[in-house]
Amino acid sequence: MARSKLYGGLGALAAGALAPSLALADELNSGDTAWMITATALVLMMTIPGLSLFYAGMVRSKNVLSVLMQCFAITGLMTVLWALYGYSIAFGGEGAFWGGLDKAFLKGVTVESMSGTIPETVFMTFQMTFAIITPALIVGAFAERMKFSAMLAFMALWLTFVYAPIAHWVWGEGGWLGGRGILDFAGGTVVHINAGIAGLVAALVVGKRLGYPNTPMPPHNLGLTVVGASLLWVGWFGFNAGSELAADGTAGMAMAVTQIATAAAALAWMFSEWISHGKPSVLGIASGAVAGLVAITPASGTAGPMGALVIGLASGVGCFIAATKVKRALGYDDSLDVFGVHAIGGIIGAVLTGVFCAPSLGGAGFGEGIESIGQQVGVQLVGVGATVVYTAVVSFILLKIVDVIIGLRVTEEQETEGLDLALHDERGYIL
């Protein structure tokens, strides 16, 4: 995220003449603002309906409403929590690990307050859409078996103790990872590795679905999944190009590399499957596109077009192996491959970001104070490691707490009947 860069030169410019509440304000740029309002809407579209449909198509027909409901409810809950205190923890202050509560209840976020060249209201809402999609990604890991009430409780805790702090580490002022020169333009660590690891932990703690892996559990409507993946692809331009927080050359390049990496990853997964199983599949090409979107996310502000091509190819093949081979071999039931696609794609992207930011490879340059690929990859690995360890440990603790108080899983009877009827008294299809 380009926030800290934008703030760099603003202090002196704004000092003195302006009112105290505008101490850090720049001139409002209407072009930047128009783009950021659009980008914010695009990122919201990624969750509802993009991710919701992507997931809904992959579950069995008896659980289609349950995942749509989970994504929709998360959208509502995260919005409220972000306004109450989430934004403040992530962006409210200058601590190394914690932004504090100065902006709780959106104190000071007014019509006049600015964030760089855009209104702070727009910045806050843009960040809110990230805080929505990240927990929603985790839904895929425990789909078809978790209690709705337990899901809500876990997600509220997770935003508070995992997402908001990590967002602060990387993007917040004074955050310790950002300070080390980590390159994470749009959220490879904060969003994807974070959600992917939390998903794996949740899949392990909640346990396998009844009958897994012996009972067939094929996706019930891949048409929905393709529509969802397509909406994710389109919405991701808001995610990546929007993370520049301005309508400029870097945003343009972010758009270009996002498109190139995604296309390369979709083809890479398709051909991998074609070679290993004899036929190219619809679910495969759609999954490959999402893997590419994930992997280019941290690199989208620094990689050049050919770097993006390599990142896309690597993530398409890497995530294909993780989701189809590694999962089988290890036997965990990450229902919709949140770990295989988001954690693995995120890690591939985060590491390769350190390679393809190099000016000699067509990149835009290293992080602050860093001079070589080796050093940059080292910092990237620190970021990956810190995120993996922190989210794994804290997610595990939060799940255990919710399990004790509410219980994570539905009963066997409810699981067999399907969550739509058991938890919502509704059916997805009345034909």
Binding site: P213, P219, K279, A323, T324, K325, R328
Partner: protein, 112 residues
């Protein structure tokens, strides 16, 4: 009277209906069914998870006929439903004891 039951490939239903109309059949009943024969099932693959689908979708046609129409009807179905490939289906013929047209109360061949 006979009851002729034919299991055919779903996409051949229109051809069979037309062929039966041409020889004077005035009504039939269709059911979507699943089953397997020599064709067996097929496999599906989703992100590396392979499922064997044992039962394939077919269409079951039931038509009640006067004895004199039975041979021609069987011939018509065979011709219309034939693709030459495995999985074309089967025809079964049963004796039919009684038929009643509910509206008029007619019975036997008059009810067909």
């Amino acid at each position: 009277m006979k009851l002729v039951m034919a299991i055919i490939k779903p996409f051949k239903l229109d051809d069979v209906r037309e062929a039966l109309s041409e020889i004077g059949v005035q009504g039939l009943t269709v059911t979507e069914v699943k089953g397997f024969g020599r064709q067996k099932g097929h496999t599906e693959l989703y992100r590396g998870a392979e499922y064997v689908v044992d039962f394939l979708p077919k269409v079951k046609i039931e038509v009640a006929l006067n004895d004199d129409l039975v041979e021609r009807a069987i011939e018509a179905i065979c011709k219309a439903a034939n693709t030459g490939k495995i999985g074309d289906g089967k025809i079964f013929v049963f004796n039919l004891e009684q038929a009643v047209r509910i509206r008029t109360g007619e019975t036997g061949p008059d009810a067909l």
